[in-house]
């Protein structure tokens, strides 16, 4: 007989053992009962799932199974189809073909509500929380109770208790926008637990967490598993998968390349090969180079973010020509604001930003563009390109003020089209014509457009924010090659990324930022990045300045 965890600390209506019947909590939530007792039979089986989107086959006859009480990782690179598959399981999408069995019974989910009622809860990568409402309100959202009038205080207590139970502490009355990212994730998990989820799907849960928060999350997951929950863990990070999961299924381009491998019996190399299909070079071909003069010098810069809170608290760094300087840090620690103050999109409260000796702090964006600063933005669709304008229009965004394209007040469109075609050839942008609107381009092509535009200006300084996010491995290699080529050509490059691997293989030097302050600077000789260095960087990313680390270890 399964030991059932009472939900919400409220008594569960009990049925005599034997024939499984519908069981309900006091609040009236109906639970799907498990007819099978054996721990080996799968709790979830997905057979032959096919899911299509316009222009792409996201899931190509995928099979997947989940055993009770296990942590099963779904591994694959961006675009492999992992999130799609889980969205099908969670009821957000309907598959074109295939079937899903929960505890041996076929189910057909037409909406997320059905999946939740079957005990499947999904914690999305981008949290589905209403920022202006409280924790409790978010947890209650979509439920049939309370019927009409809402007495929040009563439910606040219930939520607090549930949090205690699972070690997920959060203030029920806080509004979501007031919470940290880690706390918001806890709310998401609580939301699913409140609804009686037995199966949790976590979509890239560590993408926004600092290393210590990740440990906390892993502990929570193991605690839940101990109470009989089953967890599916979507990730593209090999180390995490090996560390956390019992079994792993690998997807590549919509197909399963390995199903349900025991992680204890496989290696990172095997998984990498299954993920990508060929030997993955973890090291790039970077030539040693003597960096030149200082191009960018930032001294003691203070700036606020959009909410008026301090985002940069005394940041200093410098970049020389012909070198790539990496900036590591968990998302949301000031990287975006730093890129914005350098490129003139944000004002500083104090400090200096010098480009080749000229102070450009608080200059407008067009001045920094004129001075030769190029900026590859984080968000290529919402910031970097104009979706309904043609590729040509997008490609001249930085150069339209100067000849040959800009002549006085006139715009020479034939020169612009010629320019666009040249870039199309040179950067291998796959598009029917350069008049095609940008919104029809794939992520990789769009990034090529942006890179073509930014590099063709022969910049003295490049600020690259997450340039490879969301790209497949081929495109990533292309971006890396281009960055290295710019380094050869003498540009100064500031590379901001969340992928430590990428930073370490490309950078000559590495800074780490935490809560708007620099934790330290490291020389990163790509040939020998040791495990120690990884740990040191990890510690810096969670707030320990380099001097403290060095004092503690006494090492150089």
């Amino acid at each position: 007989m399964t030991t059932d965890t009472p939900r919400n600390n409220l008594p569960v209506a009990e049925q005599p053992s034997g024939k499984p019947e519908a069981r309900r909590t006091v609040l009236g939530e109906r639970l799907v009962e498990e007819p099978l007792q054996s721990a080996d039979l799968p709790v979830i089986e997905m057979r032959g799932i096919v899911k299509r989107f316009p222009g792409v086959l996201a899931n190509d006859h995928v099979d997947f199974d989940l055993r009770r009480g296990e942590i099963h990782a779904l591994l694959g690179e961006n675009g492999a189809g992992k999130s799609t598959l889980m969205n099908v399981l969670a009821g957000m999408y309907q598959p074109e073909a295939g079937e899903i069995l929960i505890r041996g019974q076929k189910v057909n989910f037409t909406s997320p509500r059905d999946a939740i009622r079957a005990g499947i809860g999904m914690v999305h990568q981008h949290f589905m929380l209403v920022p202006s409402q409280t924790v409790t309100e978010n947890i209650l959202l979509g439920l049939d109770t309370p019927r009409f009038v809402v007495k929040l205080s009563q439910y606040d207590r219930v939520v607090a208790d549930l949090g205690e139970q699972y070690g997920l502490k959060v203030d029920p009355r806080a509004k979501i926008w007031q919470l940290s990212v880690g706390e918001q994730q806890r709310v998401e998990i609580l939301k699913m637990l409140y609804r009686g989820a037995e199966i949790l799907i976590m979509d890239e849960p560590t993408a926004v967490l600092a290393p210590t928060e990740i440990e906390g999350l892993i502990k929570t997951l193991r605690a839940m598993v101990a109470r009989g929950k089953s967890i599916i863990f979507i990730s593209h990070k090999l180390q995490e998968v090996m560390a956390v999961a019992d079994r792993v299924t690998v997807l590549r381009k919509g197909r399963v390349t390995a199903a349900g491998l025991e992680t204890s019996q496989t290696t990172r190399q095997d998984l990498a090969r299954l993920m990508v299909g060929r030997e993955v070079l973890f090291r790039l071909d970077k030539k040693p180079r003597q960096p030149g003069e200082v191009v960018l010098s930032i001294e003691d810069v203070h700036a606020e973010n959009d909410k008026g809170l301090p985002a940069l608290r005394g940041v200093s760094l410098h970049v020389r020509s012909g070198e790539i300087v990496g900036l590591a840090g968990v998302a949301g620690n000031g990287q975006r604001e730093l890129a914005q103050v350098i490129t003139g999109l944000r004002k500083v409260k104090s400090g200096r930003i010098c480009l080749n000796g000229t102070d450009i702090h608080n200059c407008d964006a067009h001045i920094s563009i004129r001075e030769g600063v190029s900026h590859i933005p984080e968000d290529r669709t919402h910031v970097g390109t104009a979706p309904n304008l043609s590729v040509t229009d997008n490609v001249i965004m930085k150069s339209y003020r100067k000849p040959p394209i800009g002549r006085g007040v006139i715009l020479d469109m034939s020169a612009a089209t010629r320019f666009a075609n040249e870039l199309k050839e040179a950067y291998d942008i796959i598009v029917p014509t350069v008049e095609t609107p940008a919104r029809l381009l794939s992520g990789g092509n769009l990034q090529r457009v942006i890179l073509a535009r930014e590099i063709s200006g022969r910049p003295v300084l490049m600020v690259a924010m997450q340039p490879t996010r969301g790209l497949d491995v081929g495109a990533i290699e292309g971006v890396h090659r281009l960055l290295l080529a710019q380094r050869e050509a003498g540009a100064a490059i500031l590379l901001v990324s969340e992928e430590l691997e990428e930073l370490l293989s490309l950078s000559d030097r590495l800074y780490v930022i935490y809560e708007g302050q620099m934790m330290g600077e490291l020389q990163t000789d790509a040939a020998n990045v040791s495990q120690d260095q990884f740990e040191i960087i990890g510690l810096m990313m969670t707030g320990t300045p380099l001097e403290h680390i060095r004092k503690q270890t006494g090492a150089s």
Binding site: I116, M122, Q133, L141, R147, F148
Partner: protein, 331 residues
């Protein structure tokens, strides 16, 4: 110039704005911008008058107004929610459509004479309250009293009930609501209907209570637009909406009355402290500038509302104006 009368009339004509504003608040809270309010008000006013004229029963007129305006709003809902077209242009086009249809089907109505109007009365005990009684509870149309009831009802619904919670979620972050099984599309259709129906009710209030009759486009004189502006001033809150609506109503009455008396007299308890010739009486053409006042005030009210939103970093429901597309990356 009796201020009591001005405020009393102000509450009456303010009720028209109140209905339209409350309706638009509900619609915008669900994330849909409906600029067709003016057209829906005209449809409401016209149908109310026409049906009452034909049937003799003003309540049938009110019902017709609500239904037809609500029906018109569903076109807007279809275009913006299902077809995901731009909400601004769709709303504008519905104003044209509503105006046009009301002119076509209302042809000849202005010659119809008088029709049965909605009852007006004084509340027995409440009208005796000093100062407030004569203003709020004496000889007011039944619609005005309905307005008093709607204000706290709307506030309570939005802030203290489960459907209200869902409404707010759908307007702030529809993806979250969708992921939890709330039907974003259905709710938006519903609240667009409610907004349209209330706009129709506002129109009926004009033609059957406050300014009885049908005067083509002049019937509403841009009040539908003022209502949309008031929503911003009200910061999407029913209580502030009430304040704004009644204040505007009073302003309109003041503009009328101020051109009347030959002399301004200010008195408290019989003691005259002010006596001067009324410039507006002696220069009747200044009346045109008075006509500008409600519209200029709307702009001022907008400025106040926008500055407040900027200051408090609050403002519109976050998803206002954006169609909800399931599976779209980003918000």
């Amino acid at each position: 110039m009796d201020f009591t009368i001005i405020l009393q009339a102000g509450v009456a004509s303010g009720t028209v704005l109140l209905f339209a504003t409350l309706g638009e608040i509900l619609t915008e809270r669900s994330g849909v911008l409906n600029l067709g309010v003016e057209g829906m008000m005209l449809i409401g006013a016209m149908f109310a008058f026409k049906v009452t004229n034909a049937s003799g029963n003003p309540w049938l007129g009110v019902l017709a107004a609500i239904l037809m305006a609500g029906l018109l709003s569903q076109i807007h809902a279809f275009i913006t929610v299902t077809l995901q077209a731009d909400q601004v242009v769709s709303g504008l086009s519905l104003t044209f459509l509503g105006t046009g249809i009301s002119l076509v089907l209302g042809e000849g109505l202005s010659k119809a004479g008088t029709v049965a109007l909605l009852p007006a009365f004084s509340f027995p005990l409440l009208s005796q309250i000093p100062i407030l009684g004569p203003i709020f509870f004496t000889e007011q149309s039944i619609m005005v009293y309905l307005g008093y009831v709607l204000i706290p009802l709307a506030w309570f619904y939005i802030n203290r009930t489960r459907p209200g919670m869902h409404l707010r979620a759908v307007g702030e972050y529809p993806a979250a609501a969708d992921a939890l099984g709330i039907n974003v599309f259905r709710l938006r259709y519903f609240y667009v209907f409610v907004g349209g129906a209330l706009a129709g009710l506002a129109g009926a209030t004009i033609s059957l209570a406050i300014s009885p009759g049908w005067f083509s486009e002049l019937t509403t004189a841009g009040m539908g637009w003022i209502a949309v502006g008031l929503v911003i001033f009200a910061q999407w809150d029913p209580l502030r909406a009430a304040f704004g609506s009644y204040a505007f109503g009073a302003l309109r009455r003041l503009i009328l009355d101020i051109q009347g008396p030959t002399v301004f007299v200010g008195a408290i308890g019989g003691f005259k402290f002010l006596e001067m010739r009324n410039p507006f009486y002696y220069n009747p053409y200044w009346g045109f500038f008075l006509q500008m006042l409600p519209y200029a005030f709307t702009i001022i009210v907008l400025v106040i509302g926008s500055r407040e939103a900027m200051r408090k970093r609050l403002g519109a429901p976050a998803a206002l104006g954006n169609p909800y597309i399931r599976g779209a990356r980003g918000l």
